[in-house]
Each structure stands twice: as C-alpha cells, then as structure tokens.
C-alpha cells in the first residue's frame, strides 16, 4: 500500500508541504533572493493591511478587482450556463451540434482567447465596436483602453469559455427524474413553478460545485488579465493596465515576487489568499447544508 501511495506521499511533501512551510517562513521576512532573508516579524502583514505607518498602495485595488470579477463573473456564468443547458436538454434536432459549438471554446488556451478578444474589442477597428457604433444612439466603450470597461470586457471573454459548465449542467438536468415534472404538471404548474420547485432544487448540488470551483478560480484569476493588459497597452513591464483596473490579486503577487523580487511580501500575500480561500470554502460547505439538496435523482 505504501509502495502504491509513495509517489503521492513524496510529491505531497516535496511540492506542497515543504513549499508551504517555507512560504510561511518567508512571509515573516524580507527576502530578495540575493541576500539572506531578514526577519521582519509581522511587518509584511502590517504593510498589506495598512496597520501602522504605511500601506501597500495597490493592495486594496487588487482585492477590489478580484472581488469584482468573482461577484459578477461567477453568478453570470452559472445563470448563463443553466439557461443554455435548459435549452439544450429539450429533445430537438441539432442538440449535439450546438453542444459541440458551445463546448469547444472552453478548451481553448486562455492566452489565445485573450489575444482574439483584445483584437475584437479594439475600439477603432474591432468588429464589436463596429457593430455597436452602427446602432444609432450608442457610443461604444473603449473596452481595454478604459478602466471602467476593461473588467466587463473580461466578463464577455469569460462567457465565451462557459461551455464546460454548460456540459455539467446538461448532465445535471438530464439526471432529474421525469416523474417529478409529470407530477407537478398534473397540478397545473407553469414553467416558472416547474423551474422553481423541481429544476432549481435538484440542480443545487451542481450549482454548489460550480460555485466553489468558480470562486477558487476567481481568486487566482491571472492569465486573461495578464495577457490582455499587456497586449492592449503594448508593454509588459507594468501589470494591470489600464490604470490598475486589471491588477488582480494574483497579478500583484506575481509582480511582487518575480518583478520586484519582494519574495517575503509575495509569500505573505499568497498565505492570505490561501487562508481566504479556505475560509470561503469552509463557509460554503457549512451553509450548503441549508440550500443544497442531495438525493433526488442525483447520485452523489
């Protein structure tokens, strides 16, 4: 048994436990990789939260941007995926073709996706603004060149990759026993009632799963923001363009660690991220007992 488990045991110690412990140690130090770590106590954490003399000028922005993309992005994805999955699970011709079309973009590399969307969102020459400008009375936004519209542009980009969630919801919907719909239809329930009292409750385990995954991914939002910011602004030295509107938490960790070489501070930020992720997951798990309905048609 230990022989079979050994790859994982070695890996878990070497690539998870030890790095995490080291990371915790570095988070209490100043370390620039070239001179030995210097013990700082809680100074990194004080600087992060602004307790004492100074605060990291970008920390709050990074937190705000990250929460923004989670608060708007995760529910949008879930609602869109449920809606599309419901349309696709009605028996009809062409379901498989539609599913393939919607599903394909979700496997596309995020770097490639970011490149296409920066090109399509180009305010002057991109097709999106050409379309928007052709509608009278609309002034098309500048998207990646305007701090108020750069995050909404990322939301649209995110929706393009919603296909995997659609597939998960389709499976969830097909698992709901027909009899339940028949039973409630006999009582004369209309669409909204069927959705509210059968579909939605029986989908809660899937919603719960996508919610947790969405939040964990949201806290680590990186590729799309990194690439779109760089490509749109045409430079790679400063992250989070335009005007820090795309400076997400992970980007700020990256910038501190690998551009500024403030390894200690980056580790402190990473540990805060880790703790927040754990707390969020724990809170969701505890509250899930109230709103997630296991049983029914779902084999969980």
């Amino acid at each position: 048994m230990f022989l079979l488990l050994s790859p994982w045991i070695i890996g878990f110690i070497a690539f998870t436990t030890v790095p995490m412990a080291l990371s915790l140690y570095y988070s209490f130090t100043h370390y620039d990789l070239f001179t030995d770590p210097r013990w700082l106590g809680l100074d990194n954490y004080r600087y992060m939260f602004g307790i004492g003399d100074a605060q990291d000028p970008n920390f709050n922005t990074a937190v705000y941007n990250t929460l923004w993309i989670i608060v708007f992005g995760v529910p949008l994805r879930i609602v869109f995926a449920i809606g599309t999955a419901m349309l696709l699970t009605r028996p009809r011709k062409g379901t498989n073709t539609y599913r393939t079309l919607y599903f394909m973009p979700s496997v596309a590399p995020k770097v490639g996706v970011a490149l296409i969307f920066v090109y399509m969102f180009n305010p002057a020459t991109g097709p999106i603004n050409q379309f928007l400008n052709s509608i009278p009375g609309i002034t098309a936004p500048l998207w990646f060149y305007d701090p108020t519209w750069s995050k909404p542009a990322l939301l649209v980009m995110g929706l393009w990759g919603v296909g995997d969630a659609i597939v998960i919801y389709m499976a969830g919907l097909l698992d709901i026993p027909r009899q339940l719909y028949e039973a409630i239809s006999i009582e004369g329930a209309r669409f909204w009632h069927r959705f509210r009292y059968v579909t939605l409750p029986l989908l809660t385990p899937v919603i719960f799963f996508t919610l947790i995954i969405g939040i964990i991914d949201g806290f680590q939002y990186f590729d799309q923001a990194f690439v779109s910011g760089n490509v749109a602004s045409g430079q790679s030295q400063v992250l989070g363009k335009p005007q820090n509107s795309l400076l997400f938490y992970s980007l700020w960790i990256y910038q501190n660690a690998f551009v500024n070489f403030s390894m200690g501070y980056a580790c402190a930020m990473a540990w805060v991220l880790f703790l927040v992720t754990m707390v969020c997951t724990a809170v969701l798990l505890v509250t899930s007992k109230r709103w997630v309905h296991y049983g029914g048609g779902l084999s969980t």
Binding site: M1, L3, L4, L5, P7, W8, G11, A14, F15, T16, V18, P19, M20, L22, Y31, L33, L88, Y98, T100, L101, Y102, V107, A108, P109, K110, V111, G112, V113, L115, I116, F117, Y119, M120, T125, P127, Q130, W160, V167, I168, A171, P205, F209, I216, F219, N230, Q235, S236, S250, I253, Y254, A257, A266, C267, M269, A270, L273, F274, T277, M278, T300
Partner: protein
C-alpha cells in the same frame, strides 16, 4: 405505445400546437444566435491570420487578398518550431507522469482498505483547492537556489514543470478514484481468491475497465499543460529558449513587434492541436467533465 401517443397528439388543440411551434422557432433562433457568437472569435482569428499587415489594422473584416503565406512567414519571424517542441515536451511528459503516478495512488485510495484512508484522502481533496501561488513562490526559490549543490539549474528549464507531475496530481487522483469506486468489488475478490496480489488486480481488473477514465485524465492533463501559462511564465519566463507557445504568444506583440496577422496565424497553430484533440475525443471530454461535476 405509438398508437396511444398518436391519439394523445391529435387531442392537442391547434392553438397550443401553434404556440409550441412558435416557441420552438424562438428557441432555435436563440441557439443559432448563440452559435454565431461562439463561432465569431474563431472565424475572426482565421480571417485575420489571412490578412495583410495593413488590413489587419483596418476595420475590414474579410481578407482581400487571402495571404496564405502568413503561416509560412511566422515560422521565419520567430522560432515557432522550438516553442512547439517545448510545449509538446511539457504536455507529453507531464501527462505521462500524471498517468503513471496517479493510477496506483487512486487504486490505494479506492480499492484497498487501510486505517486513516478517508482522513488522508481529505488531504488530497484540500490540495485541489490550494491556490498555486502559495507554493510557486517558494518552489521558485527552491529551484533557483537550494538545488545549487546538484549543479543543475532548474529555473529556465522545463524541469520544474515536468518533474512534479511524476509525483501525483490531486485532481487526477480524485477523478480516477471516483471511477475506480464504481467497479464492483467482487471482480477484485475473485482475483484475490485465485491468489493474485494487488498489482495483478490493478493490472488485470482495474486497468482494462478504466480506460475511459484514464483517457479523460490524460486528455485533461495534456490540454492543461499545453494551455498552461502561469507555470511556464514563472519557471522559464527568463529563458526564451525554453518558452512554450503560450509564453511566446503572450509576448509576441510587445517583444517582437509582430503584426496582428502573424500573431493570429501563430495563435491558430497553437490552438489547432487542441481543437483536433477536442473533436477526436469529445466523448471522453464530456464523460470526464460529467464525472467531476455531477458525481462529485
């Protein structure tokens, strides 16, 4: 049965039939409109890749003339073959590593009884939720400094990306375990009666029955590694010789002043293997994703 259905269908009043018909048309209209939205970026990419440089910067949407030679030019402009080779190496070897290491681990977590199994499995699950940032910074430090005594410089090479995959990946272990659990225990037991040890059972019973799950794990890992941007950026970002396609693409425009048409041509070359894989193995994908999402 069909006769009964016919009778029922005839009873539906014309009014309701018309409404259903309209609803069906409306639903198809929505689905087709969505299809166009999902297709548009791909079409745009293809068209832009076929444009001349000036056209790619103009509001024109359809290339005129079609410049197929862009796909050749881009190989001369940047070392695309090298990047493709690096990406293949990373994706291929790390997939091999994950499959080799995770199958036995998942077996121990699902088909063998031992004390503390569930508690240890909880560790695997929590590792899935671990933000990569918590480990990358100190792993980078380890790879950059503490390995000096081995006289191997790991930063700037693909080793930090490939080697860890030979020591298990939490998500793949989870997925394989979920699948192994569904295989009837009697099959293992009868093999045990015949005097087979755990390795024989794994080889003769579990492996042949788990091909779809193993295929899904391999596929997910290959695509994850092929698309991966964050890890190559951290570990090989400083050494352009070790770049993967995702890294090269992200800095095309800023570093090489490469034009949009060539960028899109390269992006297509980057994405085509994934798209081909997707169409070749769509079933495996859908089954794998369903296994993670619904049966979790």
């Amino acid at each position: 049965m069909t006769a009964a259905a016919d009778v029922r269908r005839r009873q539906i009043p014309a009014e309701i039939r018309r409404r259903r018909m309209l609803a069906a048309i409306a639903e198809h209209a929505i689905l087709i409109a969505l299809s166009l939205c999902f297709l548009l970026p791909v079409v745009m990419m293809l068209f832009t890749a076929l444009m001349t440089d000036e056209q790619a910067l103009s509001p024109k949407l359809i290339p005129d003339p079609f410049v197929w030679s862009n796909f050749k030019t881009v190989f001369h402009q940047i070392p695309l073959l090298r990047y493709t080779w690096n990406t293949t190496l990373y994706a291929g070897l790390s997939t091999l590593g994950v499959v080799l290491s995770c199958v036995p681990v998942a077996y121990a977590f699902s088909r063998m009884q031992w004390r503390g199994r569930n508690a240890v499995f909880l560790l695997v699950l929590s590792a899935i939720m671990l933000p990569t940032q918590v480990t990358t910074v100190s792993l980078y430090i380890i790879f950059a400094r503490d390995l000096d005594w081995t006289h191997i410089q790991w930063i700037g090479t693909l080793k930090p990306l490939i080697v860890p995959s030979f020591f298990g990946d939490a998500f793949s272990i989870f997925l394989l375990r979920q699948f192994f659990m569904t295989i009837p225990q009697e099959l293992s037991d009868s093999m045990r009666v015949d005097g087979g040890n755990e390795l024989t059972i794994l080889r003769r019973v579990i492996l042949p029955l788990s091909k779809p799950a193993i295929a899904a794990v391999a596929l997910f890992n290959f695509i994850y590694a092929w698309n991966d941007f964050y890890n190559p950026l951290v570990y090989v970002g400083t050494n352009p010789d070790g770049w993967t396609l995702s890294l090269a693409l992200s800095s095309f425009r800023t570093l090489h002043h490469v034009q949009w048409n060539l960028t899109m041509a390269a992006a297509l070359i980057f994405m085509i293997p994934i798209i081909v894989l997707f169409f070749a193995a769509q079933r495996v994908f859908i089954e794998g994703i369903t296994l993670t999402g619904v049966k979790g």
